[in-house]
Amino acid sequence: MPNAALELDSVTRRFGPVIAVDRISLAIEQDEFFALLGPSGSGKTTMLRLIAGLEQPDEGQVRIAGEVVTDLPPYRRGVGMVFQNFLLFPHKTVAENIVFPLRMQKMDRAQQQKQLGWILELLHLQGLEARYPNELSGGQQQRVALARGLISRPALLLLDEPLANLDRELRSEMEVEIRRYQKELKIPFVYVTHNQEEALTMSDRIAVMRNGRFEQIGAKTEIYTNPASAFVAAFVGHANRLDGQLSEIDGGLARMNWAGGQLLVPRPADAKSGDRVRYFIKHEDLEVTAAGLNGGGLNGHVANDINQVSGTLRDIIFKGQTANYIITLPQGTDLVVSDTPRTITLKPSDPVIVRWPAGSGACFAAEGA
């Protein structure tokens, strides 16, 4: 393989008895937008700090652009970084903050000014050069932090939850922009986040982290549509979770006894009849219709390769482009269906039927079973 932008080779970092990063191996290509997704405490920030050199691995090797940097201090690694709380230098102006990496590289002044002009234009920061960080809005501070990270065209840009402190509207705007810069500059980005929407919007590839290990790594569509574990299925996307017991195995499919009825679900690896399982089906994979004349009384019913359940519409959460239909099933549990709000004219407390293709969704052996 030609030199990857970044390679980790069985990297481990322990803090006392806690293993924050556990034998992680990884290769990131040039031009790639890579997201590390995981809940807090999963080790993703520690991993980023290991790459930057702010932490030393206990075992393993880190290579940047083919060069072994495991024992190099952060100031000799030539990476850029964007921090969660920006970490702009408060006593320096915007321009001084942004050219800081170039000054440390002892680039000559004329060249520094040229690069500064280029990055200010790219990030729409013209006119703010002389301001101090505390005179900027959150979004502007974020742009300055990005400019500082990108100005030296580093071999790699590390981003540690850079949007966590921004409000929702600004965040979705920046998501699109950050992806655009990555594609334009062709600098590999490693983006740490606990927010699955950010990871899905921006990245090419995602690693879902948990307890210092990769739970799954792959293209984002793969992670989204084909989760490898119950953890990934629950963490990525919005899914209904149904717990049941397998009654019959049929090739790649299985029948799951659930709430007095049966559903046709994908067969978990090595699953046997009688195993307890957890089944995930995404909100948008479900379809809700008014219970027609022939409806009613369908509770866990498979017909013509369609799983069907009947229930009562409890509420509609209008979200603009979509709406969430919350359906209470006879035995008391709720199902959430995401659909366009215009197509259906349902009212709360209407009897409804929820349908989805048999065998879709993801099913795993119940943990701890």
Partner: protein, 276 residues
């Protein structure tokens, strides 16, 4: 209904009057002796200076005496040297205590400030004995600087620690990632943010060493400083020039703080970065 809401002008609660009176008494307690000394320095009769018979002879005597000139020069050198040593050690100690977390942090901090609980006299004698008998060093200006820095370091440590706990060390991480080595990082990022506390530690250490009698006396012997000359001249009674000296030293210290206050008020100097 709260007081003052009936449109008869501001009503002042009785508790406020009592508290204000207490505050005034506190200030009198703190400053009356100092004001008395300044007042008396302009009097002909320093024993009973009421009413004031204005004269500047005390100041003339003070400036005429070559002893005080030499003593002032020694005191300034001593104070400056001691303040430099104290600030350096205190800053190093405070940074180390905050950056390198240890289970014995409490003990480390206590050992830094413990000299504050030891009498000046004991510090002076101990250092004299140790230097002379164990190290075989003579008492001179340098050993007096070092001896005074013992307390200066302890005070400086407390002052610097108080500001440094609010410093965000992740800022150093950012600087390092962008190519700054440890020294560069300190000079470019840490120092510009924390210098007011270093300056504060320097000032306190300077004033402590400048005013100190016991520690300095044992380590300097015959070399005069302002406090030792003042102490020595007491054998001949409380002379007028001592009042003049006290008034000038107080005026000097007051001028420093007034200048700092003025600079802060006009915004010419910002003492420290005050958060986002």
């Amino acid at each position: 209904m709260s007081a003052g809401s009936f449109g008869f002008g501001r009503r002042v609660a009785p508790t406020a009057i009592i508290l204000a009176a207490g505050l005034v008494l506190l200030y009198v307690f703190l400053y009356a002796p100092i004001l008395y000394v300044v007042y008396t320095s302009f009097a002909t009769d320093v024993v009973w200076p009421f009413p004031l018979d204005f004269t500047l002879t005390a100041y003339e005597d003070l400036f005429a005496s070559s002893l005080y000139g030499e003593a002032l020069s020694n005191s300034l050198k001593l104070a400056f040297g001691s303040a430099v040593i104290s600030t350096f050690l205190a800053a190093g100690g405070a940074i180390a205590v905050l950056r390198y977390r240890s289970r014995r942090r409490g003990l480390v901090m206590f050992l830094f400030i413990a000299p504050l609980f030891v009498a000046d006299l004991l510090i002076g004698i101990s250092i004299l004995a140790f230097n002379a008998r164990v190290l075989g060093l003579p008492g001179n200006l340098v050993s007096a600087m070092a001896a005074n820095a013992v307390q200066g370091t302890a005070f400086g440590f407390l002052i610097i620690l108080a500001q440094l706990v609010r410093y965000n060390w992740s800022m150093d991480d950012a600087a390092m990632v962008f190519g700054a080595g440890p020294l560069r990082c300190f000079a470019e990022i840490t120092l510009p943010t924390i210098w007011p506390s270093l300056f504060g530690a320097f000032l306190i250490a300077f004033i402590l060493a400048f005013n100190n009698l016991e520690i300095t006396f044992y380590n300097l012997g015959a070399i005069p400083t302002l406090p030792s000359v003042a102490w020595g001249s007491l054998r001949f009674g409380l002379g007028p020039e001592l009042f003049a000296l006290a008034a000038l030293v107080n005026a000097f210290v007051f001028a420093i703080f007034a200048a700092m206050y003025g600079l802060m008020k006009t915004g010419l100097v910002k003492f420290g970065y005050r958060g986002q």
